[in-house]
């Protein structure tokens, strides 16, 4: 036996490196998953502080704390950070941790690329946050950065913003490729596609969405860059360009993007509800088909964000019908979750509380989405707080609650320790109440006629704005409990068993808690 082989074999079995290099050079899916999750939590707090700045300014009519210029920077950065810095990396982190363990793999398929796709993010976001301190301030044109406001009239820092968006896109695409490669190649023997856990299924579909649309975003920001610095006129009417072109290209990315932020949530909830209802998921097959149809439909509905730009009648009708159609598969999913709970044997630990709240509040967001789909009525709703209420119901108690549910659900598996259940429940109830106090009144002020993204408002909107701001602070500060609970759990506590939850199912629960450094060194057999 040669020395080379010996080194290789001993190398294979040693544990993580020590110190900072463990994190800088790591190719281990668990380390990278952890880093993604911590990064996303940090971004969630940063974006949250921006949201609270906005809500503090809107507490009363008049300009009290910040000037409109800075207000616009806050709304823009809040949106960008929450979408690209908090929700997406959190899902990628969960995928990194769970996908190899759920399909019975030792690690991700492309571990070195995995390291890259994470480490790009902190640089991208540092650059984006730095723009706030540049002359002229940071991006101030909304997270949708409609041209020509974002090209001809933007502050100089927009170039850094474009570069940051490019980097985030590269990171997302690399992450998506990695997940697809892992799912296709590293499944345990016997695990057919129709036996894969739903979280894996939803992530597979999400990964394809990411690969399809992130280049579109890269394209649109590159066109902006050309318009700003190289004298082209993609979006400049005076040069023969078309400002509406920007919106079409942006929303061709942007609409699938909102499904990128919700499909993995569907997967998480489809894991958690059966566990705590102690009953198999109802309609596994229809769940898979529903998820795929939602993904496919998401590519043909983008212009429902643009009903008021002056589209021809036929376009309005097409986009109205296709948008309404999305309600069907989404409805199937909700009915399946409820059928799973029906005649189960339910208990309500923290992950289940978050999952149940997800189903209820996401459905409310779905209802307002259906209302928004009706084009003639959308003329009244468009760009008001009704829309803000709608997408926050889908993204906060939707995406973010599902991430919290997932965190509580798998935290004992990750750390080997149980989290504090009563603190978890307190966190849930404060978040649940806070979220509803914040976003429910926004439906009312939106219907009453308050446009979105305004730093100051007419007097008839004062009361509900005050209520919403109180709720926002309640929701924001209760997240400190979340962090505290996670930190305590990571440091120690009651030891968790391998199969943490009574009703848990799936390969990840056959591993020890915490799982070994290389999850499955022998591929498990799936019946």
């Amino acid at each position: 036996m040669s020395t080379l082989e010996q080194t290789a074999s001993t190398d294979h079995h040693h544990g993580p490196a020590k110190g900072i290099t463990r994190w800088l050079y790591t190719t281990n899916h668990k380390d990278i998953g952890t880093m993604y999750l911590i990064f996303s939590l940090v971004m969630f707090m940063v974006g949250g502080c921006m949201a609270l700045t906005i809500r503090a300014e809107l507490f009363q009519p008049g300009l009290q704390l910040i000037q409109p210029e800075f207000f616009n920077q806050m709304t823009t950065m809040h949106g960008l950070i929450m979408v690209f810095g908090a929700v997406m990396p959190a899902f990628v982190g969960l995928a990194n941790w769970m996908v190899p363990m759920m399909v019975g793999a030792p690690d991700m398929a492309l571990p070195r690329m995995n390291n890259w796709s994470f480490w790009i993010l902190p640089f991208a976001f540092s650059m984006m946050l730095m723009t706030l301190f540049m002359e002229g301030g940071g991006p101030n044109f909304g997270w949708t950065f409609y041209a020509p406001l974002s090209t001809t009239y933007a502050p100089p820092s927009v170039t850094f913003f474009i570069f940051a968006v490019h980097m985030m896109g590269i990171s997302s695409i690399m992450g998506a490729i990695n997940i697809i490669a892992t799912i296709f190649n590293l499944r345990a023997p016997g695990m057919t596609f129709m036996k894969m856990p739903l979280f894996v299924w939803t992530w597979l579909i999400t990964a394809f969405l990411l690969i399809a649309v992130m280049p579109v975003l890269a394209g649109v920001v590159t066109m902006m860059l050309m318009d700003i610095h190289f004298g082209t006129s993609f979006f400049n009417a005076a040069g023969g360009g078309d400002p509406v072109l920007f919106q079409h290209v942006f929303w061709f990315f942007g609409h699938p993007e909102v499904y990128i932020m919700i499909l993995p949530a569907f997967g998480i909830v489809s894991e958690i509800i059966p566990t705590f209802a102690r009953k198999k998921l109802f309609g596994y097959t229809s769940m898979v088909y529903a998820t795929s149809s939602i993904a496919i439909l998401s590519f043909v509905v983008w212009a429902h964000h643009m009903f008021t730009v002056g589209m021809p009648l036929i376009g309005e009708l097409f986009f109205m019908f296709t948008t309404m159609l999305i309600a069907v598969p989404t409805g199937v999913k909700v009915f399946n979750w409820i059928a799973t709970m029906f005649r189960g044997s339910m208990t309500f630990e923290t992950p289940m509380l978050f999952a149940v709240a997800f189903v209820v509040l996401f459905t409310i967001g779905g209802f307002s989405g259906l209302m928004l789909a009706i084009a003639p009525v959308d003329f009244q709703y468009h760009d008001t707080y009704f829309v803000v209420a709608h997408f926050h119901y889908v993204l906060v108690p939707g995406a973010i609650f599902s991430i919290m549910a997932a965190t509580y659900y798998w935290l004992p598996k990750w750390t080997g320790n149980m989290y504090n259940e009563s603190m978890g429940k307190l966190h849930f109830w404060l978040s649940f109440i806070g979220v509803n106090i914040t976003f429910f009144p926004m439906h009312f002020i939106g219907l009453a006629g308050m446009p979105r993204r305004i730093p100051d408002y007419a007097l008839q909107f004062a009361d509900f704005n005050m209520v919403a701001s109180v709720g926002a602070f309640l929701f924001g500060f209760s997240q400190l409990l979340f962090i505290y609970n996670i930190v305590c759990c990571a440091k120690g506590g009651k030891k968790a068993t391998d199969r943490v939850w009574e009703g848990s199912h799936g390969l990840e629960w056959t591993l020890s808690s915490p799982p070994p450094y290389h999850s499955f060194s022998q591929p498990p057999k799936v019946e």
Binding site: N72, L313, I338, I374, P376, Q460
Partner: protein, 370 residues
């Protein structure tokens, strides 16, 4: 007693001290046929959603209460049922088709842009609206008229805080008014809830919208598309009048134009121009260049002690009249009268310690003719 005080405190906390407005929770029903149709559509879909919610959340609540482990519920083993799954795909689809029919009808009605009685071009500028009556040769700008002191909490807020303008759009009731909507710089959106008209104003494009207002009144709206820092300060006021009142207003507009002409030919002193210019500065320039003339570094240049302010006055005037391409500096030549232009330029050249001399309305007139 203590309890009462607490209740008072709480109500004072929840109900803002500034207003005792009703807690508006719904769309306005509006004053046009279309707005009524939209309102009805909104209510139908809302009730459909409520009905679905009651059924779905009802089943869920039932399960949460009765099928919990602590009550001794045993989990059943069913996890598939073809007919149920087919049924809850088809039934929602049917509901959607039923919804799509009235929605399409309303939409088609909204797109009937034929045979207008009056045509008005609406142009969005950062951050004001311009109204051009294409059949009457009337052309004016409509600016926010809420004083800065109210916005900065230095004065009590008025009843129509942020929803008031110096010159409203005046239109007659019962006539089909067609709006040709466009923008001069960035995308704006012209929105008046009571008319159910919301249409984006896009530079380089002309969008159409129309309305027939049933009853006279003042209807207020706001720009609905993020258009820069003063997006929240760009109100729309529509003053719908009876035909007779409308005709009277048309006549008064023509007189006002003649008066403006006369003012431009009159001789003005520097003090008069400075006084007038200060007011113009506040409506047209202050949003960017700030009350103290310092501007916002990196975004809007300052006007204090710069070579432009002390140098050639005509160069300064040229920028104000023609704007600066590719920047947020608009061409004010069309927006302001010759007197207003001369006044605001003179004001800028002599405020904040500047000493740049005066510019006369006649010089502006010459400049425009160049």
């Amino acid at each position: 007693m203590r309890c009462n005080r607490l209740a008072l405190l709480l109500s004072g906390f929840v109900i803002s001290p500034a207003v005792f407005a009703e807690w508006e929770v719904n769309l306005v029903r509006g004053v046009t046929e279309i707005s009524h149709a939209i309102f009805d559509l909104h209510m139908i879909i809302f009730y459909v959603c409520v009905a679905i919610a009651v059924v779905v959340f009802g089943v869920m609540l039932w399960s949460i209460i009765y099928h919990r482990k602590s009550r001794g519920a045993k989990a059943q083993h069913f996890h598939e049922h073809l007919w149920v799954e087919v049924l809850w795909t088809i039934v929602p689809f049917g509901i959607l088709v039923a919804m799509a029919v009235p929605a399409s009808q309303t939409l088609i009605q909204m797109y009937d842009k034929s045979e207008a009685d009056i045509n008005i071009q609406v142009t969005g500028y950062q951050w004001k609206w311009r109204y051009q009556y294409l059949d009457q040769d009337i052309d004016f700008f409509s600016n926010l008229s809420t004083p800065q002191d109210q916005i900065n909490n230095k004065a009590t807020k008025g009843e129509n805080y942020l929803l008031e303008v110096d010159q409203p759009l005046v239109i007659p009731v019962g006539k089909k008014v067609r709006f040709l909507i466009t923008a001069n710089d960035v995308i704006h959106s012209w929105w008046v809830p009571a008319l159910a008209v919301k249409q984006d104003a896009i530079p380089g494009f002309i969008n159409e919208a129309w309305t027939v207002i049933d009853e006279p009144g003042i209807y207020r709206g706001q720009c609905a598309e993020l258009c820069g820092r003063d997006h929240g300060f760009m109100p729309i006021v529509v003053d719908a009048r009876s035909e007779a009142d409308y005709q009277q207003w048309l006549a008064s507009q023509n007189q006002a134009q003649e008066a403006e002409q006369a003012a431009a030919d009159q001789t003005w002193t520097m003090e008069e121009l400075i006084t007038k210019g200060e007011a113009v500065y506040q409506t047209s320039c202050m949003a960017c260049h700030q009350a103290n003339g310092q501007g916002i570094p990196g975004a809007f240049p300052g006007l204090v002690n710069t070579p432009l302010m002390s140098g050639d006055g005509l160069e300064h005037a040229r920028i104000v009249v023609h704007g600066r391409a590719g920047t947020a500096m608009q061409a004010f030549g069309e927006q302001l009268s010759d007197v207003d232009l001369a006044a605001v330029i003179t004001y800028e050249r002599n405020a904040w310690g500047n000493a740049g001399g005066m510019i006369t309305p006649q010089q502006i007139k010459q400049l425009k003719e160049e």
